[in-house]
Every structure is written in structure tokens, then in C-alpha cells.
């Protein structure tokens, strides 16, 4: 009896970081990444469309369309039949929709490609647009906005509110899931029209990684071209966030047991820009995601025990509560510098805001020291190896490199490491001074008794802190400075909403 899994025994030792051949030609719609030792094949089909293309009043349309393709019936198979066919081969496909990008992921064992590939392609080229599938997915998205996002995680709520606040009035001004009114307004015909406009043969890129036959990429590309209609490549709308004037606050009033704080401002740097890598060193030192290297984490959590963690970002980091590393395929032409303070006790909220701002001011004014710079650089040279360990992750980074026009010779991680290796302290500190500041910032805060916080903010009320247990003298002395760190906030720049008002329009 042939044991099907013997192929794994022979092939699974995947050299996932080895020098696999990557072909990525100019304006080609194909990215190929050969990993001969990988017994699986990974697919990404990228359409240049995202929530920035949601029509006004129909926010959520891009995500609803993407999900309907990946989680609905096709003209050939009902959704139930698709699940039945994919189940024995433990394969699946899914859609990820972000501001500017919709990607369809699929992965299967090489043995099962003949079963998997037609189903995957048909999901993109032959969606059935069944009303029942549409209603199912829309009701899930509505439940997410009306209940889960508002109530189940105060920190995710805070981050979503921050992005909407910073990009208010721009095509980025609503989260990818849309708005409640927007979703309710969308009809099945809207989805069909959106699909016809954006999911066309001139608006996609196919990326294939793993162990595949040489002619497979061309075949997939052709299949999609035959299946998709004529159309134009999408032109991105302008994203021009309103200038921030001083410290601006959106307070979300909620009966919660701790205060979640996020703040940030737009930056003019994206992946591939020279200053991007310098700022990466800065954000890593200031607030590496879920890592004790983070300076903010040391100040707020390790020394004071006020919360579970404190991090900073220069690129959108989705699903940060669950992931340790950034995931590819949410590239954006406009990024923000973002600080995430995990929930602190209400009585420490003003203190935590001041502590974080004070640290930001210190690093902007003084820059990193030689020692901090060298340590962070050393850290990132190895730590970045974990960003893309699987074939799918590496393929995802290749898609992003194409988005950002980065010529990385098929290996973004190596490219990134080289950039980091060649940076100087001066470059990093110049980039901090050029792009990071502490005077014009937007805050999103989920808290109880928001009026009381507003009053304290606009009156610059000192926020001394007490601890249930003893603390070293140097911490207590520093606390005295933090407690009176000046906040210049005017009442007009503090607005308060109840949680049930969020994400409505």
C-alpha cells in the first residue's frame, strides 16, 4: 500500500530561507518563487483594490466583495460542495482585504493541485453571487462592528478609532470592515458592479511559491485572464489627512474595567524609502511589538507594572493582539506613527498618557544613544529572520515589494537586513527629527467617565500616582516629573462619543 504521506517524509525539510529562484519581471503580472523542497504550493492572487475604493455610503463593499468570492458559491459548485472537496485535502483559500489591496491566499499539497486549483480559480472568476451567501457574510460583518469590535476588546476598539480619527474625511477614513450604515446600504447589485469594475484582467498579479511545475504560473495567469472581464488597472485615490493641530482627542465612553490608549500621526515614509529603515530602528527601540526591547514597555510595564505592554509602529500592524510578527499584504501609501498602550487602570490613565508623551519627547529631542542604536541594530539583524519563515509569508513579502516598487532580488528579508546593517546613528537620529514629533498628535482613548478625563486634560491637572507596593526611589522621583508633564489641550479638541456611536457612519 502506498503511504501518501511518505512524500512528506522526503520533502518536508523545507529550506524556507534558502536561495530559491524568484522571478519577478518589471510590470509582469507574475511572481514566481521556486522552493523545490517544499511539498506544498502557495498561491496569492492580488487585486489592486481595497477599502479606499468603497463608494461613499457603502463602506465595507470591498471587504464584502472579497469575502463573498472566497466564502461563497461559484457557478460550478455550491459553497457546501466546495468545502466537501477541499476538506479531504486539508486545503483552503481565503481573502484578505486591506485599504489598497485584496489578496486571495491558497495553499495545497502538490499531490492535490488538480483538485485545488480549479476551485481556487473559479472562486475568483466564476462567483455565483448568491443572495444567501451575501447575507451570511454581511451579517457577520455587521455583528463584528456592532458588537465584537465595540465590546470584546477595548484595545482593538481604540486602534480602530485612532485610524478612523487620523484619516477622517479621506478614503482611508473608515476601517476595512466599513460602517454599519454603509454595510446596511450595500445591495448584491453593488457587489456585482464592484466586482466587474475592479476584479478584471488588467488589475491583478499572481504569485506562486513552492514546488510547482514550470508551466503552472503562466497557466494560472491565463486561466484568470480568460475568466475575468476586460477593465482597467485601478488608479489609487489621493490620501491627504487633515493636519493635526496640537493634541487632539477622541474619547470613547464605555463601561470598561481599564483604559485603552492609542495615539499617533501620519508620516511621509513607506517601506522602501531610505528613512523607512532608519525609522524602523527607532520604532523598534521605542516600542518593539511584544518584546522587552521596547523602551515604553520598560517604562510603563516593567518598572511600574501599569499594564501588559506598550509598543510603537511605523507601518500598520494588523491583529497585533494575536500575532508576534507583522504580516505582509496590508501595504499602504500612507502610514502612521502609532503608539499602543495596553489597558491601564482608569486611575493611572492620565499618568500613562504623560509617561508615553514624555518618553516620546525625550527621544525626539535627544535621539538614540550610540549604545541604543547598536543594540537595536544587532537585534533586528537576526530578529527579522522570523518575519517570513514560510513560503507563503515570503511570497507575501514579494507581493508587497512589487506594490512598493522595491527591487529586493526576490528576498525582502535579506534586503531589509542589508539596509539595517548599513545604517548609521546619524541617519537614524536625523530620520527621527525629520518625521517624528510630539506636538501634533491624535489620541483615541476608550475609558469610563470620559468627561472627567477631558476635564483633567484641558486643565492640565497633575496626575500623581500611587502603587499598591513599594517602588525604588528613582522611579518615585521620575514619577513626580511625569505627574506634571505639561499637556496643552484645548476643549474644542477633545470630543467624546458613546461606544454605540462608533462605526455607524
Amino acid at each position: 500500500m502506498k503511504k501518501w504521506y511518505l512524500t512528506f517524509v522526503l520533502l518536508l525539510p523545507v529550506l524556507f530561507l534558502s536561495n530559491c529562484g524568484v522571478k519577478k519581471m518589471g510590470n509582469s503580472q507574475l511572481i514566481e518563487m521556486k522552493v523545490p523542497q517544499d511539498p506544498t504550493v502557495s498561491f496569492i492572487v492580488w487585486f489592486k483594490v481595497g477599502s479606499e475604493n468603497d463608494p461613499a455610503g457603502k463602506e465595507g463593499l470591498a471587504m464584502l466583495t472579497g469575502r463573498l468570492l472566497a466564502e461563497g458559491s461559484t457557478l460550478k459548485n455550491s459553497y457546501e460542495d466546495i468545502l466537501d472537496k477541499l476538506f479531504p485535502i486539508a486545503s483552503s483559500y481565503s481573502a484578505k482585504v486591506d485599504k489598497e489591496m485584496t489578496v486571495f491566499y491558497g495553499r495545497t499539497h502538490i499531490d492535490n493541485i488538480d483538485v485545488f486549483l480549479p476551485l481556487f480559480e473559479e472562486s475568483i472568476t466564476m462567483p455565483a453571487f448568491k443572495l444567501e451567501d451575501f447575507e451570511r457574510i454581511r451579517s457577520e460583518m455587521l455583528n463584528y462592528l456592532e458588537k465584537d469590535l465595540r465590546y470584546a476588546s477595548d484595545e482593538e476598539l481604540g486602534k480602530a478609532v485612532l485610524y478612523n480619527f487620523i484619516f477622517e474625511g479621506t478614503p482611508y477614513g473608515h476601517i476595512t470592515e466599513g460602517t454599519i450604515d454603509g454595510l446596511k446600504n450595500i445591495t448584491l447589485d453593488d457587489v456585482k458592479a464592484f466586482y466587474k469594475r475592479y476584479f478584471n484582467k488588467n488589475n491583478f498579479v499572481v504569485a506562486i511559491g513552492g514546488n510547482f511545475a514550470d508551466d503552472l504560473p503562466e497557466k494560472v495567469k491565463k486561466d484568470l485572464e480568460i475568466g475575468l472581464s476586460e477593465g482597467a488597472s485601478n488608479v489609487n485615490p489621493e490620501i491627504k489627512p487633515k493636519p493635526i493641530e496640537g493634541l487632539e482627542f477622541t474619547l470613547v465612553e464605555k463601561d470598561c474595567n481599564a483604559t485603552a490608549i492609542s495615539f499617533g500621526f501620519p508620516i511621509d515614509v513607506v517601506r522602501g524609502d531610505e528613512d523607512f529603515f532608519a525609522l524602523w530602528i527607532f520604532k523598534s527601540w521605542f516600542g518593539e511589538h511584544r518584546n522587552s526591547l521596547s523602551h515604553l514597555y520598560q517604562v510603563i510595564r516593567e518598572q511600574r507594572g501599569l499594564n501588559y505592554g506598550d509598543y510603537s509602529y511605523i507601518e500598520a500592524f494588523l491583529n497585533g493582539g494575536a500575532l508576534r510578527f507583522p504580516q505582509p499584504n496590508n501595504p499602504r501609501r500612507k502610514q502612521i506613527f502609532e503608539v499602543w498602550i495596553r489597558p491601564v487602570p482608569h486611575e493611572a490613565r492620565l499618568f500613562a498618557i504623560r509617561a508615553a508623551l514624555r518618553e516620546l519627547k525625550r527621544v525626539v529631542d535627544s535621539g538614540l544613544t550610540k549604545e541604543e542604536f547598536e543594540l537595536t541594530k544587532k537585534f533586528l539583524l537576526n530578529y527579522s529572520l522570523f518575519y517570513a519563515q514560510t513560503t507563503m509569508e515570503r511570497l507575501g513579502y514579494q507581493v508587497d515589494s512589487k506594490f512598493y516598487n522595491i527591487n529586493d532580488n526576490g528576498n525582502y528579508i535579506e534586503y531589509f537586513r542589508n539596509k539595517i546593517k548599513n545604517l548609521t546613528l546619524e541617519q537614524v537620529n536625523n530620520a527621527i527629527r525629520k518625521h517624528i514629533q510630539y506636538n501634533n498628535i491624535k489620541f483615541a482613548i476608550v475609558t469610563k467617565d470620559a468627561e472627567k478625563l477631558k476635564e483633567a486634560l484641558v486643565n492640565n491637572v497633575p496626575s500623581p500616582i500611587t502603587y499598591p507596593t513599594p517602588k525604588p526611589e528613582e522611579i518615585l522621583n521620575e514619577d513626580k516629573e511625569i505627574a506634571v508633564f505639561p499637556l496643552k489641550v484645548i476643549p474644542e479638541k477633545v470630543r467624546i462619543f458613546s461606544v454605540d456611536e462608533m462605526f455607524v457612519k
Binding site: 504521506y5 530561507l17 470584546a152 522587552s292 501599569l306 499594564n307 489597558p343 544587532k378 529572520l385 519563515q389
Partner: protein, 444 residues
């Protein structure tokens, strides 16, 4: 004569267990295992990974071992303390060295075990071993650090409490169990977390009782040389003194009638229902045990008839899934669903019971059972493509058995399960008097 044979079988088996190497069987990578004299179980897995290594220290103690009253959540709290360092490598020095390596490290605590994991490049293997063996033997922290960390743990508790699943999970454990320590969740009860800063002395005894080599598994996967790595393990871990003191966990009395509980979540959410049956301890060679795992997936899994009915066709639920976990002691076989609104709760609950009755009366389809077995094997193997994924997939099984052969045993047993076995376990275990039902509703 027979007695001698028996004696040799035992000895031979023990040697095999104590020092073995394999690359055959279902698990696809070559591995080597050895038990040191102090009882530390060492499992090395060799896989090409371009120089990356995953290093897991699995302490076979979790919230299950918190048997003394007022100490719920302590295993998790203690996990935090393990990062506070030793006299040789104080916490900030430990952090600094790992930062310089660019390693990815963290830890997590579950009901049955606590896991400390690090990923790094193989040239740092000896340094990591020096650091890790040191903190597991010589952990030291001042009382002030201990108290500060209690604040971070309380912050983690507050963060989690926003979720409705936090509320229903706490109520489920508390309702389903009377005596066993599975009665409390891993994060623990709030009053116990609040009291943690006063438990410095207790924390020292916790360390001495449970953080012993004879209660741990060391798993190293990636680009490693078996002999060199094993020599290093011996160099750094031999001095660790055995002395594990097992917790005094009470046996859960047999449940004789259905239990029900309603929870009100202080926020807005679609309702959640969990129907949980008293389960079995992990036993991969027991056909009934493995048949139960298969039953859960066949009846309530992502490709089950009930999933298609409730989620796709009737659209009455936001999700339906089974959670039949591997546990050291008998835990719960759980079926979770989120009806779209409160009017659907009763219908969904009844559909769960009707499905169980169907499996009690009808043999499952042979093809569907075959598809499921194939799915489980492909899923398992396709998820082993990096050292950290290999280690994380294996961690729970190794925490329960300390034996990597368990994987092969499980999949061998899986092959033997028949439709009749599925029907038998549906009849024997999924009875009304064995279940606890918890329903969570939003506040009005």
C-alpha cells in the same frame, strides 16, 4: 521463565524510551530522545531550517496544579516571574543578551503546562542553553520585582475580561467541576490575582516544587547536530536537582445530572452557548479516546452536516465548532455555537442534541470518516514547515506524555477507528447527565 521475559521486556522498553532515535513513522523528521539522570526528558528534532532553532522548555505544570485555595492563576503569574532573572543573569541582563541575539522569546501557560519558547540562530545555541538552564535552576528575584510583576498580570487579566469568551469560559469551568482544579481558569479568579503581591514566599515554594527536571521536557528543533546538542544539554542541565513534588489534585466525582448556568455579559454580544460533556484523559492508544476526537469533528466540525445546516443553509449561527482538547486529566468535550440572537438559542441547543442522537442511532458514513482521517493527517503535516511550528504543534502532546512517539501512536490508532467505534462512544459518553450547558447573553 515468563517472569524473566517480562522483566527484560520492561528493561528493554525503558532503554528504548530513555535513549532513542527515529526517522520512521508518521512524524516526518528525524529525532533523538534521552532522559537525563535527573529525570529531564530531552527531545531533539533535526530539520533543515537555514540556521534557525526553536527551543522549548515545557514545564508539566499549569493551572491544573493550583490545588491550594486562594492560589488560582499562580502558574501563569509564575511564568512572568521566570523572566526576572538570576544572580548570574539578572532579568535586565537576560533580556539584553537575548536582544543582542535577535531572538524571539516568550512563554505561555495553559491548564496542563507552562511553556517557555525561544527562536534564534543556531550559533547562539550554547549561550541560550547557558541562560535557560541557569534560570530554571537558580531563579532569583527581589520581593519588589515580584510585586511589580503582579501589576502586569492584573493588567493582562483586565485586558482579557473585555471578551465575552472570558466570562463564559470562567463560568463553564466553575460550573462543570466540583473538586478538580480544572474548576478554575488559567488566568485565575480576580480576588486571587489581587492578592498575588503578598505571595512572595509562596512563589519560592512553587518554584521548588514544580520547576524540577523530572517535571520538564526540553524540546529543541531545527538545524542542530544531535551529538553536539545532547552533549551541551548534559553539560548545562546535569546539575539541575530532581525533586518534583506532585500536586494533590482531587479526583472529580462522577457527574450524575445535567448542570446549567446562565451568564450575563456586561456589554453587547450575540449570545454564546457551550454544551460540554465530561471527557477522558489523553490516551492516544485507546481507540475509544481517538474515536471521540473523530466524533467531535464529524458531528460538529468545519465540514459537518450541522455546521452546513446552521451556518450556511439556515444562517442561524455566527459559528459552530467543537473543542475536544488533549488534557492530562478528564476535561470536557465542548461544542460551541454563537446563535445570531437569543431567539435562536433553544433551537441551536436542540440541534446539538439531535445530532448526538443521530450518531447514537446511525453509523457514520465510511467515506466521510475516511475524508476526516485524511484531513487530519494532511493538516498535521502541512503545519510542520518551520522549527517553531513543529515545536508549538508538539508542545501540548509532549507536556502530557513527555514522549514524541505519542504522535505515531495517535495516528496509528486513528487508522483503526471504524464507524462502529464512533457510534459506540456517542452512546457511552454523550449522555444528558454528563453535560454542562452554559449560555451567555448580553446585558439589557
Amino acid at each position: 521463565m515468563k517472569k524473566y521475559l517480562f522483566f527484560f521486556t520492561i528493561i528493554f522498553g525503558a532503554i528504548m524510551l530513555m535513549n532513542s532515535s527515529s526517522k520512521t513513522g508518521f512524524f516526518p523528521y528525524e529525532y533523538k530522545t534521552e532522559t537525563l539522570e535527573n529525570g529531564l526528558r530531552v527531545i531533539l528534532i533535526k530539520m533543515p531550517s537555514n540556521g534557525l532553532v526553536s527551543y522549548y522548555t515545557i514545564v508539566r505544570t499549569g493551572s491544573r496544579d493550583e490545588y491550594e485555595s486562594g492560589h488560582t492563576g499562580f502558574a501563569h503569574f509564575f511564568e512572568h516571574m521566570m523572566f526576572r532573572g538570576t544572580k548570574k543573569y539578572p532579568g535586565n541582563v537576560y533580556d539584553r543578551i537575548l536582544t543582542e541575539m535577535g531572538s524571539d522569546g516568550n512563554a505561555y501557560t495553559t491548564d496542563d503546562y507552562t511553556c517557555y519558547h525561544l527562536n534564534f540562530t543556531s550559533d547562539n545555541l550554547e549561550k541560550v542553553m547557558d541562560l535557560e538552564s541557569d534560570r530554571f535552576q537558580n531563579l532569583w528575584y527581589p520581593e519588589q520585582d515580584f510585586q511589580t510583576e503582579a501589576g502586569a498580570v492584573y493588567g493582562e487579566y483586565r485586558k482579557g475580561k473585555a471578551s465575552p469568551f472570558f466570562w463564559i469560559w470562567e463560568a463553564l469551568c466553575n460550573t462543570a467541576f466540583e473538586k478538580h482544579t480544572y474548576k478554575h481558569t488559567t488566568i485565575g479568579f480576580e480576588e486571587d490575582i489581587k492578592a498575588m503581591p503578598q505571595m512572595y514566599e509562596y512563589s519560592l515554594s512553587f518554584f521548588h516544587r514544580y520547576y524540577r527536571p523530572d517535571n520538564c521536557v526540553l524540546l529543541i528543533a531545527g538545524d542542530i547536530d544531535f551529538d553536539k546538542t545532547m552533549s551541551l544539554v548534559k553539560k548545562y542541565y546535569t546539575s539541575w536537582q530532581k525533586g518534583y513534588t506532585p500536586p494533590k489534585i482531587e479526583t472529580e466525582p462522577e457527574q450524575t445530572k445535567e448542570k446549567r448556568k446562565e451568564v450575563i455579559y456586561p456589554g453587547k454580544t450575540a449570545p454564546i452557548i457551550v454544551v460540554a460533556y465530561k471527557g477522558m484523559a489523553f490516551n492516544p492508544s485507546d481507540k475509544n479516546y481517538v474515536a471521540t476526537i473523530l466524533f467531535g469533528k464529524l458531528a460538529f466540525g468545519e465540514n459537518s452536516e450541522l455546521y452546513k445546516k446552521l451556518y450556511i443553509r439556515e444562517q442561524r449561527v455566527l459559528f459552530l465548532e467543537e473543542e475536544f482538547n488533549f488534557n492530562r486529566d478528564p476535561f470536557l468535550w465542548m461544542i460551541w455555537a454563537q446563535p445570531k440572537n437569543e431567539k435562536e438559542i433553544e433551537y441551536v441547543e436542540n440541534e446539538i442534541y439531535k445530532t448526538i442522537e443521530f450518531f447514537q442511532q446511525t453509523l457514520p458514513d465510511e467515506k466521510k470518516l475516511g475524508d476526516l482521517k485524511k484531513n487530519m493527517k494532511y493538516s498535521f503535516l502541512m503545519n510542520l514547515d518551520t522549527p517553531s511550528k513543529v515545536a508549538s504543534v508538539l508542545a501540548r502532546t509532549l507536556a502530557l506524555t513527555a514522549d514524541i512517539n505519542t504522535i505515531d501512536v495517535f495516528y496509528r490508532t486513528l487508522e483503526t477507528v471504524t464507524p462502529q467505534d464512533i457510534q459506540n462512544i456517542a452512546k457511552s459518553y454523550f449522555l444528558p447527565e454528563k453535560r454542562t450547558v452554559v449560555i451567555l447573553k448580553e446585558s439589557k
